[in-house]
Symmetry: D2
Subunit: 340 residues, 4 copies
Amino acid sequence: MTQSLEVVSLEPTPDQWRWSFGGGEPLLTVAPGTVVELTTEDCYAGKVRGVDDLPSVVCQFPYLNPVTGPIAVEGAEPGDTLAVHLVDIAPARDWAVSSTFPHFGALTTTHSTAMLHEPLEELVWLYEIDRERGTCLFRPRRGGPEVELPLDPMHGTIGVAPASGEVFASITPGAHGGNMDTPEMRAGTTAYFGVNVPGGQLSIGDGHCRQGEGEVCGTAVESAMRTVVVVDLVKGGGPAWPRLETDEFLMSTGSVRPLEDAYRVSQHDLVTWAAELTGWDRLDALQLVSQAGLAPAGNVVDTNYTMVAKLAKRYLPGATAADGVHERLRATAAAYLAQR
Amino acid sequence: MTQSLEVVSLEPTPDQWRWSFGGGEPLLTVAPGTVVELTTEDCYAGKVRGVDDLPSVVCQFPYLNPVTGPIAVEGAEPGDTLAVHLVDIAPARDWAVSSTFPHFGALTTTHSTAMLHEPLEELVWLYEIDRERGTCLFRPRRGGPEVELPLDPMHGTIGVAPASGEVFASITPGAHGGNMDTPEMRAGTTAYFGVNVPGGQLSIGDGHCRQGEGEVCGTAVESAMRTVVVVDLVKGGGPAWPRLETDEFLMSTGSVRPLEDAYRVSQHDLVTWAAELTGWDRLDALQLVSQAGLAPAGNVVDTNYTMVAKLAKRYLPGATAADGVHERLRATAAAYLAQR
Amino acid sequence: MTQSLEVVSLEPTPDQWRWSFGGGEPLLTVAPGTVVELTTEDCYAGKVRGVDDLPSVVCQFPYLNPVTGPIAVEGAEPGDTLAVHLVDIAPARDWAVSSTFPHFGALTTTHSTAMLHEPLEELVWLYEIDRERGTCLFRPRRGGPEVELPLDPMHGTIGVAPASGEVFASITPGAHGGNMDTPEMRAGTTAYFGVNVPGGQLSIGDGHCRQGEGEVCGTAVESAMRTVVVVDLVKGGGPAWPRLETDEFLMSTGSVRPLEDAYRVSQHDLVTWAAELTGWDRLDALQLVSQAGLAPAGNVVDTNYTMVAKLAKRYLPGATAADGVHERLRATAAAYLAQR
Amino acid sequence: MTQSLEVVSLEPTPDQWRWSFGGGEPLLTVAPGTVVELTTEDCYAGKVRGVDDLPSVVCQFPYLNPVTGPIAVEGAEPGDTLAVHLVDIAPARDWAVSSTFPHFGALTTTHSTAMLHEPLEELVWLYEIDRERGTCLFRPRRGGPEVELPLDPMHGTIGVAPASGEVFASITPGAHGGNMDTPEMRAGTTAYFGVNVPGGQLSIGDGHCRQGEGEVCGTAVESAMRTVVVVDLVKGGGPAWPRLETDEFLMSTGSVRPLEDAYRVSQHDLVTWAAELTGWDRLDALQLVSQAGLAPAGNVVDTNYTMVAKLAKRYLPGATAADGVHERLRATAAAYLAQR
């Protein structure tokens, strides 16, 4: 396999960043199976560089959450499955930032959960990133102990062009993926998206050095990233909602409001998927998922909320998802890493 | 400590079962620190014993989800913290059951999410419990592979008498605890409840051999249990919502609707708690929880939905929750188990 | 009819007020068809008497929202329909009050929609009531025009004992009625409740000189009331959720969270009811309600939210609800008012 | 004024219909104050013409809900207020249709409220429209009485191009307007939209002969329309969410999920608006709206739910909204109708 490894690079300049999913021409077109080495800027478009850079001052709405892409995949047609394996996600700088943001987050009044309170105070936290030791350092702004947290890099935003000609801001998660903000989107994961337009049009951004489930303050440990993905195509079988696979788990996602509907969407998809993969009746799959499934929050702050439904593959005897593409992409990733 | 170990037994007869939290006389009164060996019946009141025992036929509403208790704790006054350490939860039989139930569950129309659909089919699953091997066996009703799942026993229902003289059915979770249905309520966990009435009035029931997060079909692997708890009291500091502690984690819960409000309640409590324990400003605690917190669903099927907010204690330097009672109860549990 | 008019009086002293639905002995027992002249205190238990009486200071939680009752109705058995016709609701004083209340209302963080904001400012408004002219005078606290509003007296809280031995605080609305806070509960309306316990146990309180739909700040123009009701009984036919009837409309209510579920419950009940009364298939009734139904909010501030589903009786040809008891009670009311 | 009355016509052919808000070139550009006589097709794109035309068969997703437009208004810049006065809305045919639709509506499982039920039966109702008598005739499909309902024509869908380059399907309501499905959008109403892009880009469609609040089955009495609007511009003052004005009422809208957030958005906007117009402090405006405001549902079926917050202008002494444009447009409408 290594002899045929196609590797391309995608390092967009700021004028090439995109701010939405859907519309626009691809920035890159690749054959299925291509390894793409790409760079992403952070959700602040790199403008918050210290604790005095308040996002509401230095950022210019709506120029938030730039994404790298779209990457068109040759041969991808509506109804197909676009598979993206995350090979490596490496912080590009030795610092990262997080912040509150006026009227954004789960524990504050927002544009949608409109109330008469003044916004919470806007604060920025600067994290030191130690790539050698694999840590990021939390420094409280107003005293108290510092905490060293393990790096667990992931991408908050990844997805394809929506159906029906819709164009969504890159901060919106949905059936097309987008800003799902789940920590499960780490290296080692393969994400599956249903293709809605020719080429699929994959974009990726919003790197996080790590993120708690729900992203309760509204932002993670935000960082520019140097990321490697393998992009592949499975003909047909495009899922209605993004799905994830790791060596150990299958996962379905749902990104709607209220949060119980995001739970319903993700669990419904996982139950249906489990039934298809095993031959179980859907009520039998419902029963198994009820006893063995996990349900972590993705985000509870974005324009849609995201829940993840997660099931260990060892509880799905004989099941092979998406024609086994995850295994193949793992091999591609290993070959790439061996020769890098 | 072992010389002073107080151990009492509580094995209610069916006419002693209770069906609600609040009201009624205690079934047992104990001194703080007492080990209680108790039995609980399953949520079907033991009436579903095979796949032909449809709950809607053999159970008599509202006689569902019996609880054992209340157990009054001497000296417990409103505002105090009732601490319950789960020492051991052992399935009492070599079988357990689960089922769908008409108009109950997350993927079906219900009493509250009222729709015009007919109910989903009512089905019962019988699990074989192998206590030696620590497994329960899932047998699909309509073909396909069987799956052996690890036992992970827990109690779906545990709580105290509500405030303000309210009486809630045992199937309702809330600020008093109750039917939270979180898999975190396993042996090794200490649960903290705010005391609302003299004695606190602890009740416990709804044992599960294991349960997925969210309990999507509405029921877990339901089983009668032989359970051992240590009941203790911390003067003052009663939390507004139930909290949990294990050797590794602190957890807050929220049980309301919609699910994002359950998320908000649990995260708000965890943020506030973390700030108190470390001396951080609340916004600093918000930031840390945003990056390091977990947010698994408890239940998304009961009269209130439950979310759990979970933080590793290693990220809270120097923090000691509830006067360190968890550590003391771990020691009591060890002493008990050593002499059992 | 006038010769048989049974009229009784119920003027509870403060020590006789109740604070919940369910539990406790009846304060009065009446035969079906009895006219009851009763008094109710306001939701502040009469303690807020001027703009300097902050509720959080002068009121003592949970002693809020006293109700008058319970009134047991002879012969009422579980499954029956308790019918309450509101004959007259008259403000008892020449002033009334409203207020914000810390962490209560739709546009503020609350106990359930927990956020990190400080509470909104607590303010009290004193209204002058002019019973002759039928007005209440709004005086802004911080300048700007005063507004004279028409009196439209109603009861925020009315209901029966809940099922299954539950006891709910009087501020909670639900299937038993309770604190639904809908402006439709005015004189001329007949309310129907499903009986859950012998006698039904009707209680009433929380008079409002008027109220907007949703009660957005959390309180209405709160007033002690002198109220006249006729209490009657229809054997069987107890509705799952409270229903209302006026000369012009049938109404169903739903009181749950989230608000779309309250909408679903109320519309589902109205569709089902319309089908029963006309002989339409349920999908035909759904179609008619879709085109001719109204859907005003009741409250969006209490522990459950209330939606009302409302259909003009002229769109239900030949329909007679609840054995025509509304017409009979209108006649009783007219006879009472004629002789008063 | 009549001498200067500019009247233009817009009758798009099917290939000119649009299916989204945002993107694309204007179909017409007009000066502020222009009267536009336009035609709209129904939400089924005219393909459902009898009870045997099942929408899921004859319609081709996503070609649903065509809109007429966009109409660019000369001089409209982001931040301005686009005012649209509805002069006349007349059914174009002597029949109209309604239907259930698989997995769409408030009382059925949907794409978002995902459940395991089969869809409800798909049924079509054909209404006879009598324009002379002003009625539409409901014929139940399965027996029972027919009902004559009054015509109350309105447009379910009206709005402008969204901000930030987003493109939303015409079935989605939001801050840009769109498919709000409120019966308040009838002749005599002026709608205000915040302009997001040069020209504003107004589109209109989805005529309803009448509609219940909430549109519970998912569709109204759907009809092609011959509609007359006056399109005008107020520099600055663009509202965050669509607002409405009639001779009697001011209204704010909110279109998000869950429904309580739509309520919050609409009430928050109305409170803020009332404060601005009267000089009241926002808490005083909150108090007045709490007692005098109305809160009918718009839709509880679309991709966002819509609530309307409604306040009689007589309770806002001295207030003039949007520079009095509603009064001026009423005069323009009268002049147009006089000369038609």
